[in-house]
């Protein structure tokens, strides 16, 4: 029991929301200390999981086509297994978008996990994001923004709108212990519980904005509490190996304090919180979500204790007329091949190897656009045209260089040739080449569309009794 956690906003009327995961690859045991902390406290408590990157949903859609019982997040069981029993016995309600392309199947899987624990929680499913069948390829193309990926009218692998928080709040109003969603706006995972717990109305714009900001700060897990922050000597973070995931305590007026479980690593101060407030935000006066237009320009952050920051001042304007949707289409294959050079003259030998491969491909696969990076000289900061690397090569004295070739195409023969040419450097290339690795990966490209709200039908339903024990 952490008495200190009660300071700040006071004990009354506080809702607590902890983060269990900020992405599908997050630490599987991160939620354990969060749940232990919440279990020792009273009042409404929620645990949220964000597990859907842009293309995760397309991969799940492909899995569902192969198996009607698949298509929920492959991370669902790994995230829930360590905490499900404790949450159910302690009254901590769970909200996660791990339903992905098949929330019904995800909910059935959770019901089975609970049954094995001798429990029968009320599980709700939020659906209606899937736009398949609602628009034809030309309809998606006409609604694309920020690119022309859909101009040739490809048939989408997946097309999902970002739903808002209302169906999540409805599910909790209906008594759900666990809410399984597909695509929803990430902050809605926290906003839904707040609308439910405080009775906020959809048009309480400043409150909806405050809840959205709380969700925005929670949905990336430890990115607000010391994760993705450490820069030794400049920004040190204690205990990064056991970084604590955030817990927000939110008051009825929308102000909230971000904290973390006692005994965990990480840090929460105005620096970590400010970095995350602006994460993936464009115009700070107009962050568009399905629920509200959030304005963070008046937000105040105040350190109110050790690893405790109070956030206030979010403002909201009426929600946008349209919803954002992510449309994924097949995009051929990505070929990647690497080889290393080390010791004296490594950069010059790597440069020669790049010239050799490009010269051979120019003659044998002239239409293939190949990107070359030299890890150790210019790779992350390189550009696809290679101007950055070309300028850095001549003066480089790097003594350990990994050369990387990449190309994307539907022409598998040309991609195979690239991989073969890199491997052939072993004998026919410059001296001392070593460590060839080659990969060929199917590629899904994604486009953003703005769609009318009446194209989606957000709906909540409780999992049917046929799966109850």
């Amino acid at each position: 029991m952490d008495g200190g956690f009660e300071r700040g906003l006071g004990a009354g009327g506080i809702v607590r929301i902890g983060s269990g995961a900020g992405f599908a690859g997050d630490r599987r045991d991160a939620a354990v200390p969060v749940v232990e902390m919440l279990a020792g406290l009273d009042g409404p408590r929620f645990l949220i999981f964000e597990t859907l990157a842009e293309r995760t949903l397309a991969l799940c859609q492909l899995a569902r086509r192969r198996d009607p019982d698949a298509g929920y997040s492959p991370a669902l069981e790994a995230f829930l297994a360590p905490v499900l029993a404790r949450c159910l016995e302690s009254g901590i309600r769970i909200v996660g978008n791990f339903g992905a392309a098949n929330p019904q199947a995800g909910a059935r899987r959770i019901a089975a996990m609970a049954r094995a624990l001798g429990r029968a929680p009320k599980i709700a499913v939020v659906e209606g994001a899937d736009l398949a069948g609602r628009l034809d390829p030309a309809g998606f193309a006409a609604r694309e923004v920020g690119g022309r990926l859909l101009a040739g009218h490809p048939v989408p692998v997946s097309a999902d709108a970002y739903l808002g928080a209302r169906p999540i709040a409805d599910a909790l109003d209906a008594g759900a212990d666990i809410v399984v969603t597909g695509r929803v706006a990430d902050p809605a995972l926290a906003l839904g519980p707040l609308m439910h717990a405080f009775g906020w109305r959809d048009e309480d714009w400043d409150l909806i904005a405050a809840g959205t900001l709380a969700g925005h700060l929670l949905e990336c897990g430890s990115q607000v509490s010391g994760g993705y922050f450490a820069d030794p000597g400049i920004k040190d973070v204690p205990g990064l190996d056991e970084v604590g995931f955030p817990v927000a305590e939110i008051a009825a007026d929308g102000t909230f304090v971000i904290g973390k479980p006692p005994g965990t690593g990480g840090r929460i101060d105005r620096f970590t919180v400010t970095e995350q407030i602006l994460y993936e935000i464009h115009d700070p006066a107009a962050y568009l979500t399905p629920d509200v237009v959030l304005d963070v320009t008046g937000v105040q952050v105040a350190e109110v204790g050790v690893d405790r920051v109070r956030v206030s001042g979010a403002r909201g304007r009426p929600r946008p007329q349209t919803l954002k949707a992510t449309v994924c289409v097949e995009a051929g294959l990505l070929a990647e091949a690497e080889i290393s050079y080390a010791g004296p003259g490594a950069a010059a030998r790597a440069r020669l190897a790049a010239d050799v491969v490009l010269a051979r491909l120019t003659k044998r696969a002239p239409d293939l656009a190949v990107r070359v990076d030299a890890i150790g000289i210019a790779s992350l900061f390189n550009d696809t045209a290679g101007a950055t690397l070309a300028a850095a090569f001549p003066e480089s004295r790097a003594a350990d260089v990994r050369l990387r070739f990449s190309a994307q195409s539907a022409d598998t023969a040309a991609l195979g040739l690239l991989l073969d040419e890199v491997e052939a450097l072993y004998c026919a290339g410059p001296a001392g080449g070593a460590g060839v690795r080659r990969h060929l990966t199917p590629r899904l490209a994604s486009a953003s569309c703005l769609v009318e709200r009446d194209l989606v039908s957000p709906a909540m339903s409780l999992l049917g009794p046929e799966v109850a024990p």
Binding site: E54, I234, I277, L278, S446
Partner: protein, 143 residues
């Protein structure tokens, strides 16, 4: 690029100044949406805000990212948070699901921004310098 380079002295400053990497006075986080990159830049001390506002302009950031051919660069100022938000359009080779590069998200590009040189008062640079010499070049005071 040599981020630790010391600029030539400018005429008659009121306070001794030094050139330092932006990393000494601010920190940054990159975010992506499609082909658009945002770089949140947060001051390590309020005193850095006007210095950065004057020196780290949208034009200068556009020049820093010129090899990626940004179609538009906008800087938003957040004085109450002692922070800035830079939004760079069309710099991610189509975004994470289209780029051929290792970093399709552009996550590492926060540190490209932090390598930019800024001129700051020598005493501020000294106050913010890391304790160990290993992590950043010590600021050299102007003569």
């Amino acid at each position: 690029m040599n981020p630790q380079a010391i600029r030539d002295p400018a005429p008659a400053p009121a306070r001794a100044e030094v050139g330092v990497p932006l990393r000494l006075v601010a920190h940054a986080r990159a975010g992506d949406k499609g082909n658009r990159l945002n770089l949140a830049l947060v001051c390590r001390t309020p005193e850095a805000f006007p210095l950065i506002a004057a020196q780290v302009t949208a034009e200068r950031v556009a020049a820093l990212f010129a090899a990626r051919k940004p179609s538009r660069v906008v800087r938003y100022d957040l004085p109450n948070l002692f922070a800035f938000n830079f939004v760079l359009d069309d710099v991610l080779d189509g975004g994470v699901n289209a780029s051929l590069g290792l970093d399709g998200h552009g996550k590492s590009l926060s540190f490209l921004l932090l390598a930019l040189e800024v001129r700051v008062p020598a005493d501020l640079a000294q106050a913010l310098a890391p304790p160990a010499a290993a992590t950043a070049a010590p600021a050299t005071p102007r003569p």
